[in-house]
Amino acid sequence: MVEMGYEATASRAGTQAVFEIRGKQRDVAAWAGARLPPLPAQPNTETREDGLAICHCGPDRWLVRAPIRREAGLTEALDPDAAPVSVSVVPVSDSYAFFNVSGKDADAVMSMVTPLDLHRSVFPENAATFTAVCGVRGFLARRTRPENGYELAVDASLAEMVECWFARILG
């Protein structure tokens, strides 16, 4: 955890259960709809239900996130090996390193790591998207609990670099 001159904290979060699902919405819904929250209608938004979140993060592309303790159950439910040819279900929990940024100055801190417009009118509570984070591709979602802030994820191999970024920005 990095304590900063800014009134905000940036901390590395634990591994999450993450599944990348690709396929047409109707096919995805047919295969996994009953096991997941409703698929978000709008791109770059996510629906959250019972600890599960599903983000519409690109054309025919969805990202399912859940606490890591639910990974085995989700694997069983989504059954990647049995998914029809029209749907890809790929466990990618280890591909991402997650970070939480929160606090009064979280917006100021985030303005230093991403070019995305994070104003609430543009990036509302259910917003979630892939974008540029610390100069690399990353996933970004608004976080409302336990306090206002952001959840971001980058390729796991870049985790130390992102920690270094935060240390330099906020140190």
């Binding site: 001159g5 800014y6 591994t15 990348e20 690709r22 396929g23 025919d60 090996d81 040819v85 029209s86 890809s88 790929v90 466990p91 990618v92 929990s93 280890d94 591909s95 991402y96 100021a108 303005s111 230093m112 991403t114 070019p115 995305l116 417009d117 104003h119 543009v122 610390c134 100069g135 690399v136 390729d155 796991a156 191999s157 870049l158 985790a159 130390e160 670099m161 270094c164 970024w165 330099r168 920005i169």
Partner: protein
């Protein structure tokens, strides 16, 4: 006049209750909060602040802001910085500044002698004179003698930041038009970012004595600024300058002295839906002999120092003008106590309103100042009728001159907006915008205060409405203004004095230089700029451009618009590199990637560096007393004789699924994948559209419609983009989906004759016998109690097991591999040893043998070019290229005649080692442990036909003969790796 007499007892925007101490060239001085370094130095009686760029002429303060072209300083200490404009440096306690381009001091500059020879040093002199034996021999000396400040020896104390911001409306400038625009836009509810380079709002209103709404104009500005700062939808960046205007309304801003502790400067990248450019206008100098002498200042600057900083830059002044605005300046000077000896106006008819401002002051209408006199400071001027007659000498220590006003069109032009020449104000003004932007107020060519307020309000409201908001009408305040009229005057130079009449004061460009450029045939204004350097550098022609253009037009006898204008480039003001970089410095200047065993590698003393794809990998693992070569040899021997393990995690990995997955593979790979059975893998080569090798790797079939593709480390992202482009652009209807798994699965590659023993010792439920688990197959199961996918692939030429586990398990796997392998003599292997091992086998490496110029035939891989498939990417290009029959460079091995002689990688091969065009190059050269000698791979013209012959590598110091051999030095039949 003493220093005390130069500072007025009252008035101005300085805070006399907060005195500040600072040093300049080591001498102590005092100023006040609210001063700039320039105003404080003026108040302390410092006339010469630096020496000029080329001729080392003494230079003093000319302007009162970013337009000042003369006074660069170096700052030391906390905010150490190379080239800062004294007129924009905010004074603070303890500030330490030094002058630029002079030694030992600005007053006694040893290089000042150069000025005496200025006639011999015209534009282009250096490039014409210092040609032989080469410019490079002279350049360091010339650069030392001429130019700008050096970069600080130590970094600034503190840090820089870069922030992104977004706005519905960005307003640049908080003068009357900018404030008016911001108020109108913000009132609509739009998100407004207001940027201004002053610490307080008002712009030019701060320097003049005007009225708005029945009160002094600066009070209106302060109120408007306060109103804006209090609005939630407004971000007001003061002490900040917009210095670059990029595509898609991205405006770059540097903010000085932000409120965050230890942040020196903050850079903002503001993306706006609409931009209102309200950057005002710069006064342009008049051109006469010695117009750069300390004491010769822009009239508006004198007015600013008097009104805003309560400083008298002189005691007796002559005002030289061709327009009305200088009369207001003269009135303010007189009111402050400066004796205005005369106003020299090049216009024969001076408007009555202008005369009324300076009742009682002598006005010399229809006359010009042709020369300023005085060595270190203006002592008098010569004035008279430009048509001829007697010149009158007028004693003065201050010459305030005004050649009219140039709208500040830099940002507009950077955004690719166009200009037109406006005859009524004799200046270039914005014409068409190229991006969603509007120019308001004086920047748009509207010199009157009332027009600026109205135009700003209209442009601000228009911008908000264009961004989707409803602007409310807001009554415009009444204002008290001064009239403005101008008659252009481009030159007021007496014959023979044009070499001392400066057009671009920053770059020491004189009227003579422009005449020379035109005589030498530089007709385009852009060419004149390049030849003379006029308008270049940090100044970007703020004060010089219009005069250069006017002079060109005058000399050529054409109208000013016909002369054209030059390109304005960013940055608009000097910007520290640190502000551009922000946090992206030091270890994060470029991204870096780690695997889960990076810490382990470092603990083992590995020498780490990037080995492609931004991955930091171990190069080698030195042991105490070992040389680099000792370490690499030891690691190679472990693989060839016992067992080694390397971290293959960075290899690109992609899951490809869909009904058309096989079609995709057959399109991108040169060989046929249609008969690849589930559980098996196949090596493949990808070509670019022009038939050159893009990447290689092994793809495994998981089930009927699912594949796992591996790529090289460095090209993983390139391949991903290549595949996505095909699916998203070229073959949109194909049913294929790609998921990146590079970081999901990490692999420990166990290789060597004892690799199978280590696998057994690890305990696995996979049958790893040769026949049960052959080469180029994969199996899923458990290894060391961890769920794993194991691949039989080899990049070393030895028996290999690539054990892939989820990232979370990798460190655990690695520790267990090292434990299990200990009794078999396992060693970790770095990328240097991998390079040796693959070179011994003749396996291609992207970036070495596949350097973007070769096709598979060149590498002896014709077997991989399918004749069965109708098409694949690159096929046609290869066929067309090879149909020409031109000789190709082909992969061969090289054995230096001296087995202990290395050939530098990249060394050219030339016929007989002679100094002729190369016939190839050395792509790799390593010391082979199995051959106990140096071996190399090379691309050599018609190489395969020449096997058995001799090639010659040519280096700077020697010619290295080498026998040409087949490009494989170890187990050419491949029996070991299949074992």
């Amino acid at each position: 006049m003493t220093a005390a007499e130069r500072r007025l007892a009252s008035g101005g925007g300085i805070d006399r209750s907060r005195p500040l101490r600072f040093t300049f060239d080591g001498r102590p001085y005092r100023g006040f909060e609210g001063d700039t370094l320039a105003s404080a130095l003026l108040a302390e009686g410092v006339d010469i602040i630096g020496r000029s760029f080329k001729y080392h002429r003494p230079r003093g303060v000319i302007g009162a802001g970013v337009e000042d072209p003369a006074c660069l300083v170096e700052l030391a200490g906390r905010a150490a910085s190379g080239n800062q404009q004294a007129a924009t440096v905010r004074l603070r306690d303890g500030l330490a500044a030094t002058s630029v381009n002079c030694w030992p001091s600005p007053e006694l500059d040893a290089a000042g002698i150069i000025g005496a020879f200025s006639r011999l040093l015209p534009a282009g002199f250096y490039y014409k004179t210092f040609m032989w034996p080469g410019w490079r021999y002279y350049e360091p000396w010339i650069r030392r003698a001429a130019g700008l400040a050096a970069a600080p020896a130590t970094p600034a104390e503190g840090r820089f930041e870069t922030r992104h911001a977004h706005a519905d409306v960005l307003v640049v400038g908080a003068g009357p038009a900018g404030l008016s625009a911001a108020l109108a836009a913000a009132g609509s509810g739009a998100r407004v970012v207001l940027v201004d380079d002053n610490r307080v709002p008002g712009g030019a209103l701060l320097n003049r004595r005007l009225g708005i709404g029945g009160a002094p104009a600066e009070e209106w500005a302060a109120k408007a600024g306060g109103e804006l700062a209090a609005m939630d939808n407004v971000t007001y960046l003061c002490d900040a300058t917009a210095w670059g205007y990029r595509e898609h309304n991205l405006v770059l801003v540097v903010q000085r002295n932000p409120e965050t502790p230890d942040v020196i400067e903050r850079s903002w990248k503001v993306r706006a839906r609409r931009v209102v450019i309200a950057t005002g206008a710069h006064e342009r100098p008049l051109v006469f002999a010695n117009n750069d002498r300390p004491g010769a200042m822009l009239a508006s600057a004198v007015q600013a120092y008097v009104n805003r900083y309560a400083v008298l830059p002189g005691t007796t002044a002559v005002v030289f003008t061709n327009n009305d605005s200088a009369y207001g300046a003269a009135a303010d000077m007189a009111a402050a106590g400066i004796d205005v000896a005369a106003i020299v106006d090049s216009r024969k008819d001076v408007p009555g309103a202008a005369r009324a401002l300076v009742g009682g002051t002598e006005i010399l209408a229809g006359q010009v100042v042709t020369e300023a006199h005085g060595r270190r400071r203006v002592r008098s001027v010569s004035a008279g009728d430009p048509a001829g007659g007697t010149m009158r000498r007028i004693a003065c220590d201050l010459l305030a001159h005004s050649g009219g006003w140039n709208p500040v069109v830099h940002l507009h032009c950077q955004s690719r907006g166009t200009l037109r020449f406006d005859d009524t104000i004799a200046a270039f003004v914005p014409k068409d915008a190229a991006q969603p932007a509007a120019v308001a107020g004086a920047a748009a060519g509207l010199p009157s205060l009332g027009d600026a307020l109205a135009d700003g309000a209209a442009k601000g409201a228009g911008a908000a409405e264009a961004a989707g908001f409803r602007a409310l009408s807001r009554p415009l305040p009444e204002c008290r203004d001064q009239p403005y009229a101008v008659e252009p005057l481009w030159l007021a130079v007496a014959p023979g004095r044009e070499d001392r009449s400066f057009l671009d004061i920053l770059n020491d460009v004189t009227v003579d230089d422009v005449r020379l450029a035109l005589r030498e045939g530089y007709r385009s204004i852009e060419h004149v700029k390049r030849y003379t350097t006029g308008g270049m550098g940090f100044d970007q022609g703020k004060t010089g451009n219009a005069n250069i253009i006017g002079t060109v037009a005058h000399v050529k006898g054409i109208a000013v618009p016909e002369a054209g204008f030059t390109t304005f480039r960013p940055p608009y003001v000097p910007v520290a590199f640190g502000a551009v970089a922000g946090a992206r410095t030091g270890p994060v200047v470029l991204p870096f990637r780690h695997t889960p065993v990076t810490a382990w590698n470092i603990e083992q003393g590995a020498v780490m560096y990037e080995a492609g794809g931004r991955w930091r990998r171990p190069g080698y693992f030195p042991k105490p007393g070992e040389s680099f070569q000792d370490s690499v040899d030891r690691e190679c021997r472990s693989v060839r004789q016992r067992v080694g393990v390397y971290d293959g995690s960075p290899l690109g990995k992609f899951e490809i699924k869909g009904r058309d997955a096989l079609r995709l593979l057959d399109l991108v790979y040169t060989n046929d994948f249609s008969d690849l059975a589930p559980g098996k893998g196949r090596y493949g080569l990808m070509l670019t559209d022009d038939g050159m090798i893009l990447d290689d790797g092994v793809t495994f079939r998981i089930d009927e419609h699912r594949y796992l593709m591996t790529t090289s480390t460095a090209n993983a992202e390139t391949v991903n983009r290549h595949l996505e482009r095909i699916l998203q652009v070229d073959r949109r209807g194909w049913d294929v989906r790609i998921t990146t798994l590079t970081s999901e699965w990490c692999n420990a590659t166990i290789c060597g004759p004892r690799a199978r023993d280590v696998m057994k010792a690890l305990a696995t439920d996979i049958d790893i016998d040769r026949d049960a688990f052959p080469f180029m197959h994969f199996r899923s199961g458990s290894v060391a109690g961890l769920p794993a996918r194991v691949f039989r692939v080899s990049f070393t030429g030895e028996v290999s097991f690539e054990v892939n586990v989820r990232r979370r398990h990798f460190r655990s796997l690695w520790d267990r591999v090292m434990d299990a392998g200990r009794r078999f003599g396992i060693e970790p292997v770095g990328s240097e040893a991998s390079h040796v091992l693959r070179t011994e086998k003749g396996f291609l490496s992207l970036g070495h043998e596949a350097d973007g110029t070769v096709d598979p035939h060149d590498l002896g891989m014709s077997w991989i070019m399918s004749r069965k498939k109708a098409d694949f990417i690159g096929k046609r290009a290869v066929e067309i290229r090879r149909s020409s029959g031109e000789p190709r460079r082909e992969l061969v091995g090289l054995l230096p005649d001296d087995p202990e002689q290395a050939i530098p990688e990249g060394a050219p091969l030339t016929p007989g080692g002679s100094k002729r065009a190369s016939e190839g190059l050395t792509t790799a050269c390593v010391r082979s442990v199995v051959n106990d000698r140096w071996i190399a791979l090379a691309l050599l013209e018609n190489g395969r036909e020449r096997i058995g012959g001799t090639a010659h590598a040519r280096t700077r110091t020697r010619i290295i003969p080498a026998r040409i051999a087949a490009p494989c030095f170890h187990d050419p039949e491949g029996r070991l790796l299949r074992g």
